[in-house]
Amino acid sequence: MTEYLQILGNEVYKILFLLVPILVSVAMIVWLDRRVWGLVQKRKGPNVVGPFGLLQTLADALKYIFKEIIIPASANKVVFILAPIVTMTLALVAWAVIPMSEELVLSDINVGILYLFAVSSLGVYGIIMGGWASNSKYPFLGAIRSAAQMVSYEVSIGIIIINVLLCVGSLNLKDIVLAQKELWYVIPLFPMFVIFFISALAETNRPPFDLPEAEAELVAGYQTEYSGMMYAMFWLGEYANILLMCAMGSILFLGGWLPIIDIYPINLVPAPIWMILKILFLFFLFALIKAIVPRYRYDQLMRLGWKIFLPFSLVYLVLTASFLFYFDKLPKGNF
């Protein structure tokens, strides 16, 4: 029995060491997002609380904690409370498989990329549950919109992942990174990288695809009835999801923890630093896009997903497969 308890304690310890940095970095990333947004618009952004305003998010979180949580009288209470918890949990469990270096990963499973894909596709439930349980018009419309949007863009993300997997020959995230030792996949699969990036924007409900919470039409979408800490949990879950998508992009296309070039002074930088830099780079692009691109109309969004991205990534998949087959570059695998 003590043996099991020891294993359990060890796991809890490892999980805490993963969770706490993620939560802190989510807080920091919100600050970065608002700073970039401000600078693009020639404002200063949050710069008052702490050095450079770094503690702004903590101050906000403190405010949310002390606000009252209001549950609407006609809401389905259980589902209403469950929705932000689901969003937050799903955004955090996915980090279990993200490798920060060759050794630094919580669980190194064979089907890592499928696990990531599954968890990110489950993220839609938090939004649907929140929207439905609120029992009000705007949250419901927002939830329906986001369900359709996320299901649509998952399809093209799936096909992009297949593109990468064809070149790797394994579903393990470590193998995917190690297969990019010679050449990052962003170079041969550049169009797929662009489509992945745009689909990731749609999958995480970021501008220009933030139609589930389009404030001009739907007040705040599925979050309209939420207040206090429950709203903050939606918010944190959303940003954790965005970070996750950036991590996924850097693993699939930007070579994960690998340095830019493998020569002497540069490869001294520890692997997790490279991974963090790549995630930050992708997040910086996310933040820039939020500031400079106007919002899409809903039918335009659907058209982009189904009529442009899906056929294009399918054709590229056939091209990749034919190229690999013709030049005999298909991964042979180690079995």
Binding site: Y4, V111, L114, F117, L122, Y125, A143, F335
Partner: protein, 208 residues
């Protein structure tokens, strides 16, 4: 293997409980939520017996896509509090059909499991070598070799049913404004802006 059996019973109890709740819950949306819970726990059970690919595919396909559409439809139809007649005691026409279907499924399960028990080489394959390669690799080896015909047939059946569903619900609506993206992008000031001198007190006629 204590931890293993603890987790196994944990997920099985959740799976059985939630599948019971699917058919007894009065609120249809709750039914769908329990169905999702059922899918998730069945996926976890698959992962526990080592079929990790199958488990993940259940999570992606059933939970991530099919159940979302179920939920979508149930919420849109707004049949929140449906009164099931067999709760109240009225006679229902669904029970005999349901019984026939469930007996058929039970028989099929018996045939499948029984066949596997009695004939060892039923599941054997010419290309599959049962060494210690992961089951994702094994699936990949047989999917497009031994079972290519069945795989493609299943795909074609799915495609046909999709086309059929679209055809059944398709209707041409009149008076819908549509946007031609090519025209929209190729517009320029010279083709879409016209400057007119407006005489005082006369106005100008704009033709649509």
């Amino acid at each position: 293997m204590l931890a293993h059996s603890v987790f196994f019973y944990f997920f099985s109890v959740i799976a059985i409980f939630s599948s019971l709740m699917v058919i007894t819950s009065r609120n249809t949306v709750n039914s769908v939520f329990f169905l999702i819970l059922d899918f998730i726990s069945v996926g976890c059970l698959f992962i526990m017996v080592g079929a990790e690919f199958l488990g993940m595919i259940i999570l992606i396909v059933y939970v991530g896509a099919v159940a979302v559409l179920f939920l979508f439809v149930v919420m849109m139809l707004n049949v929140a509090e449906q009164k099931q007649s067999w709760f109240i005691g009225k006679k229902s026409t669904h029970i005999p059909i349901g019984l026939i279907v469930s007996v058929l499924i039970l028989l099929e399960l018996l045939v499948v499991v029984g066949g596997w028990r009695y004939k060892d080489d039923l599941m054997s394959s010419s290309t599959l070598n049962l060494s210690d390669i992961s089951n994702t690799h094994q699936l990949g080896l047989v999917m497009y070799t031994d079972y290519i015909l069945y795989f493609q047939l299943a795909g074609i059946i799915l495609l046909l049913s999709m086309i059929g569903a679209i055809l059944l619900t398709f209707r041409q609506r009149k008076g819908v404004k549509k946007q031609s993206y090519i025209n929209q992008i190729s517009r320029n000031p010279s083709s879409s802006i016209e400057l007119k001198d407006v005489e005082s007190n006369k106005g100008v006629k704009i033709d649509d």
